[in-house]
């Protein structure tokens, strides 16, 4: 057996699998794609070594949404096993089917070139205050690229970036925004490309260290997860990181943010990275409920039971993904909410894509807004 897989089986406690099948029963992919089963993949890993496991196309179908880990009675960390499996599979030339022709992956790999002089700060409006050197850094992520790449489905993820800077400004913080920031590498890591993930990470670590920032604020949950879990694990970084919802929740507790009335009914989508990966459930809810007039109706499956937006790391997007998205949108609509509050740019892109389908019925059409945008709009002027 491959020693890395063997170690991953030990670390993830996959050998404890009692074949109850709760993982497959709860998995949003298995619900629609009956050929995919986390239980069978765990069994393949512990029984037959890695021979046919690494060549199994199903290892790329996992959303790594961690819902199975939540339900597993043996507390197996399935997604950690998946990550190692993918890293090993990549070495023998296996790979996922990349969505959008691999455009997103190409963007990330191009960004590994250190000499590249990106022009990525056009989104910063004149009324937003940012700087090059300072204590607090706002990590934008790939949103400037997403808005161009997905301009056909009219996504505007950069609104969240503007809103984040606006809120930070309101709190008296002028955040550093790096002109040569790179993709955090989250998607490359989860698609098994460790080499390019490392290049991106090293570049980011160097740029951030140069800026002198002591605290990094994220509005993208994937970047946040990568900086909080993966960078320390692989590169031993010690950055103080936080999600913008944590900043907002703290500011609300301290009475630093004053909100105006907003008569709306909303529902909130827990992104898998922010929720199950990092256990941040209360802060976004605190932010929403602190706006007077705003009513939060929870979906049938929320918090640790929330369903993922259907695609991860720009790969294996399929009709199954669309089914997951439509089911989730229907669930959101059933709460009677006028607004579907999201807090991940990818959730926005994926749901927007599902809704832009001509065949999508009205029961899946709901207006979406990013949480930070909602809060920024509710802020009292002055």
């Amino acid at each position: 057996m491959n020693s890395k897989i063997a170690k991953a089986i030990r670390d993830s406690k996959a050998y404890l699998c009692m074949e109850c099948g709760k993982c497959t029963g709860t998995c949003p992919v298995s619900r629609y794609n009956h050929g995919y089963s986390p239980r069978i993949l765990v069994n393949k890993a512990i029984r037959s070594g890695n021979h046919d496991l690494l060549k199994d196309k199903n290892i790329w179908a996992c959303l790594t949404c961690k819902l199975c880990d939540e339900r597993c009675p043996a507390a197996i960390e399935y997604i950690d096993l998946t990550l190692t499996t993918r890293l090993e599979a990549k070495k023998i030339g296996e790979g996922a089917l990349c969505s959008h022709g691999g455009a997103a992956q190409s963007l990330m790999r191009i960004m590994t070139t250190p000499e590249l002089e990106q022009k990525r700060l056009d989104w910063i409006d004149n009324d937003l205050k940012t700087t090059q050197q300072g204590d607090v850094l706002y990590f934008v992520g790939c949103m400037p690229y997403f808005d161009i790449l997905f301009s056909d489905i009219k996504v505007n993820t950069l609104q969240a970036a503007r809103a984040s800077v606006k809120i930070l400004n309101k709190l008296g913080i002028t955040p550093v925004v790096l002109p040569q920031e790179r993709c955090c590498g989250h998607d490359l890591l989860w698609s098994g490309d460790m080499e390019n993930f490392e290049k991106l990470a090293r570049h980011n670590i160097e740029e951030i260290t140069k800026s002198g920032a002591k605290r990094i604020v994220f509005s993208c949950p994937e970047g946040y997860r990568t900086f909080k879990i993966d960078y320390p694990r692989y590169f031993g970084t010690h950055f103080r990181v936080e999600h913008i919802t944590e900043t907002i929740a703290r500011a609300i507790s301290n009475g630093e943010l004053k909100m105006k009335n907003l008569e709306k009914v909303v529902t909130f989508q827990d992104p898998c990275r922010l929720g199950r990966h990092l256990r941040i459930y209360d802060e976004p809810r605190k932010a929403i409920t602190s706006v007077p007039g705003l009513q939060l109706n929870e979906m049938a499956r929320s918090r640790q039971r929330a369903i993922c937006c259907g695609v991860s790391a720009w790969m294996s997007c399929s009709t199954y993904s669309k089914s997951i998205q439509r089911a989730r949108l229907t669930e959101a609509k059933e709460t009677g909410a006028d607004l579907f509050v999201l807090s991940c740019p990818k959730c926005e892109i994926h749901f927007q894509c599902a809704m832009s389908d001509e065949k999508a019925g009205n029961d899946t059409r709901i207006e979406t807004i990013q949480l930070v945008t909602l809060i920024a709009d509710a802020l009292e002027d002055g």
Binding site: H100, G102, L107, T112, K119, I148, E195
Partner: protein, 176 residues
């Protein structure tokens, strides 16, 4: 007897031939030879390139043609992949709007090209490295001219900053 007509670069169309290696190593010592990927549509630009060959119009061998059924098929991923793998320039050549075999394909290509241009500009790739042109199947001489001009533009710009990035190896997992 007609070998004299052929220019030295002919061997580069066979990537595995020994000549290619010598050709490339010679380029390293004598100067920069741009690598250009051209996406040509099946109905206009590709026949134009073909016509240029039949008519023995010379154009630089730096242009490597990828035939696509329609210019509208060329998504940002095609162009980005070419740059990622080390292309110094990318040419997208389609039908004129009025001639498009699929009616709307050339217009779609132009729309998608705008998105690709914005992406490459944001990445910091010089805008001259990406070019969209409309070449009908009767315009063999235009193809040869565009190929020549584009190659010279890229030659002046010099090599692209992006170096081909290999896929994962187990280096840093070892260090863990």
């Amino acid at each position: 007897m007609r070998q004299g007509d052929k220019k030295s670069g002919d061997s580069t169309i066979m990537p595995n031939s020994k000549n290619t290696v010598t050709q490339q190593s010679r380029d390293k010592t004598t100067g920069f030879e741009p690598k250009i990927v051209a996406f040509c549509c099946n109905w206009c630009s590709y026949p134009a390139a073909d016509g240029a060959g039949v008519a023995r119009l010379q154009y630089p061998t730096n242009i490597k043609i990828v035939r696509v059924m329609c210019g509208g098929r060329v998504t940002p991923s095609f162009v980005l992949k070419a740059f990622e793998l080390g292309a110094d320039g990318v040419l997208v050549a389609t039908c004129h709007f009025e001639d498009c075999h699929y009616m709307f394909g050339a217009r779609k290509a132009a729309d998608v090209h705008k998105i690709t241009e914005r992406l490459t500009a944001m990445l910091g790739i010089e805008k001259e490295r990406l070019k969209l042109d409309w070449i009908s199947s009767a315009e063999a001489s235009k193809f040869a001219r565009v190929a020549k001009e584009f190659t010279e533009t890229i030659r002046k710009l010099g090599p692209s900053a992006i170096k081909k990035s290999p896929y994962a190896t187990d280096e840093i997992i070892e260090n863990e």
